[in-house]
Symmetry: C2
Subunit: 108 residues, 2 copies
Amino acid sequence: MNAAQLEQLEARAKIIKALAHSTRLFIVNELSKGERCVCELQEEIGADISTVSKHLSVLKNAGIVVDDKRGLQVYYRLCCPCILNFFGCIENVIQENARKQTALVREA
Amino acid sequence: MNAAQLEQLEARAKIIKALAHSTRLFIVNELSKGERCVCELQEEIGADISTVSKHLSVLKNAGIVVDDKRGLQVYYRLCCPCILNFFGCIENVIQENARKQTALVREA
DNA sequence: TTTCTATTTGGTATTATAGCCAAATACTCC
DNA sequence: GGAGTATTTGGCTATAATACCAAATAGAAA
C-alpha cells in the first residue's frame, strides 16, 4: 500500500465515515425527500440542536450535503443523491446476515 | 425517529462503519480481485498481523466478507460484491469536492 | 506426541467520536 | 441600534475505535 493509494483510500474512508452513523443516515434519508432546515431535522431527531448541527457539519464537510442560508434558517440538501443507491446493497447484506443467522440456529 | 426506524438505521450504520477505514477499504479492494489469506493481506498492508486480523473480523462481523479455513491458512473473500458499486459515487463526491475547492480558490 | 506455523484473542495506551450545555454568531424585525 | 431567533462553535465528559505486543488456539507436519 503506497502513499498515493493510502491517500485515496483515506479520502474515500472520510466520506464513508460521514455516513456511518444512524442520525446522519436519518438526515440523508430525510434530505432525499427534499431540503430541510436545521430546526425541522432537530424536531424529528429529538437530540440537542447543537448535536444535529454537528452531524450536519460532518456531512457538509464530507461533501454529501450543501447548505443554503435563507433568512434565519439554514436549509440543507443532498449534494450527491447517488449515495441513496448504497442502501439497496446494504439491505442485501442485512438480509443475508439474517438468513445466515437462522441457518445457524436451525443447525444447532 | 421511532424505535424500529432507529434499529434499521443502526443496522445500516454498522455495515457502513465496517467500511469506513482505509485499511478495510484496501482489503475490500484486494478481495474484489479474488480471495486472499490473512498473511497475504498482512504483507501488502504492512501492519501487525493482529491488526489485520481484527480488521478482517470487523468486515466479517458486518457480513461483508466470509472466511474459509484451508490447512493452516484462513482465506477471506467478498460476500456482497455490490459493495464495489459504492466507489463510483464516492469518487464523484471526491471530484466534486475538488472542483468546489478550486472554485473557492479562484474566487479569492 | 511434540513442534511449528497461521491466525485469533486479550490487554492496554492512544486517539477519535458523540452528546450535552453554554456562549458566540448572524440575521431579522422592531 | 436593540431584541429576538436560528444556528454554529467551544468546552467538557463519556464512550468507542485503532494499533501494537504478548499469549492463546487450531491445525499440520515431524
